[in-house]
Symmetry: C2
Subunit: 380 residues, 2 copies
């Protein structure tokens, strides 16, 4: 097992009705006036908005509101919200939504202290402080509710890039699994594939981190099982709870212990795809890329790919494991090829160019241009 | 899955040579003069003491020292150290040792602010602050390096009791697995059984916490496998690392997610035994009690006991799982009965009395006196 540092100070309040504790948690942290950041309004349909406002007003916390954060959240929106947060002089950020809303919230929380928030993504400015962040999660997918990462798209430059800073760990994250019972299955499956991808970005990095690998086997199988249940019964609360917690753990740091930071080539590839096609869901894109990546990579470290095929999919050949993974994704009604995603063959070279902003991609993949091109063809 | 709160802000620095970072971590936290608490001197043999002092002096942190904390650490020693800490006006506590040293450190860190430190164990006084705690772990067992619990024995009253307070989470924990390569196998096995017992205290509490159960299955199997390797090759660094990290996770909160707080009857029983016989190692005591507890309890929630037998031991009957567990403990050269531990039959009633300081014992066991007596006979 490689040396590692582990630190995750986010407090989680998980369970049915937990949102009622939001106000008191924020009050205990000294918050008086927060900025609520939300998406396109689904939280008004599913009752979450009312629960949030009730809990905040019960603790005399005043609220300014910004709406309209979209999937694949943009730098322009982040900048607009930073101006608003400064104008309103809020003392905390409250993200109510999924990964896009939380990543926007993190960028705003840090961005109010930066000359230009994009500098945090390009490593030009260092984040040294941020407003405290609270989150109420409405879809389990990105794991952003339990980590210190944010991913934002600069639409002018077609760059979907990320930053990490320990200043943006949420102070408290609220997860009420019942909130997700009304999600369309496609969104649930997107989230499940996203969470599995986070685990898989680490999985193949180190065959000596046995305590992490056995947890990762277990979580991958659990996510598949819970998603299968939810496909037929979206209100199954046991499955919702266990999928939600597995997805939060998937990018909490626990699944990457001793894994040298993981690979992340598939994420970089998918980020390029959805920078070009913001309508493609991150999870669905990953569901296309990852099986192709396993096929392409499996000769480099056969023992770990074989372990994955065996322990997660019950197969004794990597190719059969990949087939089982693709069949599963297909059975969830999701795309299994770039063609399915609506990408044209003549776009592949542009995608390859967007990916190769460094000379190499992936901690263990170490892909050069020709690898990326070959992989995209395999996924097509 | 039950509702839960999860919070664990301890930073872990894990790996070969990591102790060199101790000084800078303490300096960054503003520490100028710490109290080093240690056991009987093994850290002078294995080089840890020198590494610690070198790192501290490199960062101009001055050190006062207290030695002589023993297994099953005592209230008298805690009180003696509290006086010394006050006299020296230290601004942090540095525990260098195993669970006994760390639990002593936590009690001291909180105790300097209390009228009487035992009040924290009897719920008479509430802990509202503590000196910052840093730990350098020398044996993986108790998990105390990654949680907010402390267990201390009041030798006058024969009470081995515990407290929990979020103020005593270590700020930073250092785990260098090479440090443990020189441990006698008996201590390694004690630690492994202790860690397995922590997972098992949660395991049987809730059959709906599937994401936690699958992690717990994986960790239990992993601990057995790593311990088997270390029995024959104590310097196997992969096994040392993975056993160490599994043991830290075992009582970090992760294994108890959604488990209603777990049971803890076996720990209460073992604490009574080692309050009476301080020479009995906690892990070895648990290795005797737990299999008997599973036998006694398995009718109450057959599905989870069967899961345990199957997933951890590969058996399709609980009784066979128990036999496999006992055989494993025996193969490690550890006691498998109270008789083996040197306990006399006529002591059983006194032990039963020490256990029953509440009307019921165990979150799910809910043992009354007659259950305890029957269980002790079964374990004899």
């Amino acid at each position: 097992m490689e040396s590692f540092s582990f630190y995750n100070p986010t407090k989680v309040q998980f369970g049915v009705g937990m949102i009622r504790k939001l106000g008191s948690e924020m009050m205990n942290a000294g918050v008086k006036h927060c900025l609520l950041i939300a998406g396109r309004g689904s939280i008004k349909q599913n009752g979450v908005y009312n629960q949030v406002m009730e809990s905040l007003s019960g603790c005399s916390i005043s609220v300014s509101e910004v709406w309209g954060v979209q999937a694949n959240p943009t730098l322009n929106k982040v900048k607009e919200i930073i101006s608003f947060a400064k104008e309103k002089q809020v003392d905390a950020i409250l993200a109510v939504g999924g990964g896009s809303v939380i990543d926007t919230a993190k960028s705003v929380a840090a961005g109010v202290y930066l000359n230009d928030v994009w500098n945090a993504f390009t490593d030009v400015e260092k984040i040294t402080q941020a407003l405290p962040i609270f989150t109420v999660l409405t879809i389990s997918a990105s794991g952003s509710e339990l980590n210190s990462n944010a991913v934002i798209t600069n639409t002018d430059k077609l760059q979907k890039w990320s930053f990490t800073s320990q200043h943006v760990f949420p102070k408290v994250t609220f997860i009420d699994p019942t909130v997700q019972c009304s999600l369309p299955f496609k969104l649930t499956a997107n989230g499940a594939i996203d969470a599995m991808s986070h685990i898989m970005e680490y999985y193949f990095s180190n065959n000596k981190a046995l305590s992490t690998l056995c947890i990762n086997d277990a979580l991958l199988k659990n996510i598949v099982k819970m998603t299968d249940i939810l496909q037929h019964n979206p209100s199954d609360l046991v499955a919702r709870s266990n999928l939600a917690w597995s997805a939060s753990l998937a990018l909490s740091g626990i699944t990457g212990i001793g894994m040298r930071g993981g690979d992340w080539a598939c994420h970089q590839i998918e980020h390029a795809i959805s920078a070009l096609h913001p309508d493609i869901a991150h999870g669905e894109g990953l569901g296309v890329i990852f099986p192709a990546w396993v096929e392409y990579m499996s000769e480099k470290n056969p023992s770990l790919f074989l372990r994955w095929a065996k322990n997660v999919w019950g197969e004794d050949k990597v190719a059969l494991g990949v087939r089982r993974a693709r069949d599963k994704i297909d059975s969830w009604g999701m795309a299994t090829s770039l063609r399915d995603l609506g990408i044209k063959e003549n776009e592949l070279s542009e995608i390859a160019k967007l990916i190769m902003h460094d000379s190499e991609v992936g901690g263990i993949s170490k892909f050069r241009s020709h690898d990326i091109e070959a992989l995209l063809m395999l996924a097509y």
